[in-house]
């Protein structure tokens, strides 16, 4: 090597201890961020409940939210509910026929619809259609200082923006769930009777025997928690949106993803709880094969 050739020193790669320390530091940062986000969401929820019990929103702010969240979600929930009912028939028919139990198909399908799929489907559609839109709308209002403008005019943004959306999601998700249940049941019945020639009388009688009021109640009860979670998460994401178009887009995506994860988690927890309640009152379980 000649003397005028520059010697380029490459930086020493980090050792095992340094890499481990960095990994733990990154992990710690994620955990701290997660807890900080959870704390922020909790404070936000308490403030929303505080307004809910102290002063209800005016009719002119409430009704547009009811229309947007409830009425405009009905068609998409009805349509998806119908298809879910139909596809359940398609997926389960063969197995039931092998056991010569086609007439019991309605039991499994209707029970899954009213207890699980109806509320989860309605909640998922609400999170996708309404949750992301709430996060994007409030995020844009944050970025363009409209939320600051509200505050500067002496109007509390949680009272004015969050409470009406929360009430609309909470009160109208049971209606959407009933719509999903109803259309799912109708879709499944029509498909089973028309395309698989299952006896209509036995399909309905068996469904009636096994699907009770408690099952319908369980689905509606769960939907209230889903609606509340969707509204709070979406509004919180919008309120804490990062600046710029990218921030608004991320808030909308995060609102849906987080709402969906929470819906699934709540569904499990509430499912276990409601089963416990059911079996404590009615320990005798009717057999599907009887």
């Amino acid at each position: 090597m000649s003397s005028d050739t520059p010697v380029i020193s490459t930086p020493r790669p980090p050792g095992v201890i340094e890499r481990s320390a960095n990994w733990f530091a990154d992990l710690g940062e994620i955990v701290i961020d997660w807890f900080s986000g959870l704390g922020s969401l909790s404070v936000f929820s308490f403030r929303t409940f505080g307004w809910l019990f102290s002063r209800l929103p005016r009719r002119e702010t409430l009704l547009p939210c009811f229309y947007e969240i409830g009425v405009r979600s009905m068609p998409v929930v009805a349509l998806t509910g119908t298809f879910i009912g139909m596809v359940l028939v398609v997926q389960t028919f063969v197995q039931f026929r092998l056991m010569n139990m086609e007439s019991r198909l309605g039991v499994v399908i209707n029970l899954s619809l009213v207890r699980e799929l109806g509320p989860v489907l309605a909640a998922t559609m609400l999170a996708g259609r309404v949750g992301s839109s709430i996060a994007a709308e409030l995020g844009t209002m944050r970025v363009t200082e409209q939320i600051d403008a509200l505050t500067s005019m002496g109007t509390n943004p949680i009272y004015y923006l969050v409470v009406p959306r929360f009430l609309a999601c909470l009160l109208l998700i049971p209606a959407l769930t009933i719509m999903a249940d109803f259309m799912g049941v109708i879709g499944a019945y029509v498909y089973a009777v028309v395309f698989y020639q299952i006896d209509s009388h036995h399909y309905l009688i068996n469904s009636q025997r096994f699907v009770g009021y408690f099952d319908v109640f369980a689905g509606l009860f769960k939907s209230l928690f889903f609606g509340a979670a969707i509204a709070l998460i979406s509004c919180h994401r919008g309120f804490h949106c990062d600046p710029g178009a990218e921030g608004v887009g991320r808030a909308a995506t995060n609102a849906f993803v987080l709402s969906f994860v929470v819906i699934m988690f709540l569904n499990l927890i509430l499912g276990i709880f409601l089963d416990g309640v059911y079996y404590s009152f009615w320990p005798e379980v009717p057999k599907i094969t009887s």
Binding site: M141, E145, Q146, D148, T151, S152, M153
Partner: protein
């Protein structure tokens, strides 16, 4: 109506007492002391990022000070309850940089919003006030039915000013009122600020980096400087005095800003390799 003249004996409407605002470790405002008297117009000038808007938001209580206090009419805003703070806030009018009009509402609904929220006036009374305000800012009645997205930048600012005036505030905060407007429209906004002061006897705080606005509307100019370029013991306010004396300020940083000369800043940027020769 003529604006009341402040004197040394009257207590200030706004008092900043050692105001310190930080976002995490990033300090934006450090130990600011400032009194703003009733009926006066104070222009806060300074280059981008020096904390002018943060100062305005601290004055109305949108941002809480990390240290120090903001007093409005003798009340420490940080110590007020939410309800008390709301009652203080409706004494303010705020014209935001991009006007911050509510997209989902028409111009009429935007202007009447504070009236509908905080008064029990009848719809016809509200309509009368909205018409008076829109005429005051020089806009035709047909804009009332339009949405903010259908308006130009200058029209939005004027609607924002009409909304800020709806509740007859005692103080109006203007955040860069002429930014993004052509010189003619900028001057229209300056004239509107002057006529607002004449007709409503309001105190005004105008945040701007437009020296024409500062000279035209203000009777006092305060210049802030970014903390990142100050020594630890230097005050953040480089100039506090009448607009006509700012050209004679001995501090070269003030005169360079007023004349719009890059000077030392450009040399510093060249030293750091931020500007290509």
């Amino acid at each position: 109506m003529v604006a009341p003249v402040a004197n040394a004996e009257t207590p200030p409407l706004v008092r900043l007492d050692g105001l310190h605002v930080a976002f995490g470790r990033h300090v934006v405002l450090r130990d600011l002391n400032l009194d703003i008297h009733r009926g006066r117009t104070v222009a806060i000038i300074g280059e981008s990022g020096c904390g002018k808007t943060v100062l305005l938001k601290a004055i109305i209580g949108l941002l809480r000070p990390s240290r120090g206090a903001v007093y409005f009419d003798g009340n420490n805003l940080a110590q007020l309850t939410e309800k008390e703070l709301t009652w203080q806030r409706i004494r303010f009018g705020f014209l935001f940089q991009q006007a911050a009009l509510f997209d989902s509402m028409t111009v009429a609904q935007n202007i009447s919003f504070p009236l509908r929220q905080h008064t029990v006036k009848r719809p016809d009374e509200i309509r009368r006030i909205v018409l008076a305000r829109i005429a005051e800012v020089g806009l035709p009645e047909d804009v009332l039915a339009k949405k903010p997205a259908e308006l130009s930048g200058g029209m939005r600012k004027r609607v924002g000013l009409a909304r800020a005036l709806a509740l007859e505030p005692e103080i109006i905060l203007y955040d860069e009122p002429t930014t993004g407007l052509d010189p003619i429209m900028g001057d229209v906004i300056n004239e509107l600020m002057l006529s607002t002061r004449r007709h409503h006897a309001v105190t005004s705080v105008v945040v701007t980096h437009d020296m024409r606005t500062a000279r035209k509307v203000a009777d006092r100019v305060v210049m802030l400087y970014p903390l990142s370029r100050l020594e630890a013991d230097e005050p953040q306010i480089l100039y506090d005095g009448p607009p006509e004396a700012i050209d004679r300020c001995p501090d070269s940083r003030v005169t360079q800003f007023v004349r719009g000369e890059a000077g030392e800043r450009l040399m510093e940027m060249r030293r750091r390799g931020m500007v290509v020769e």
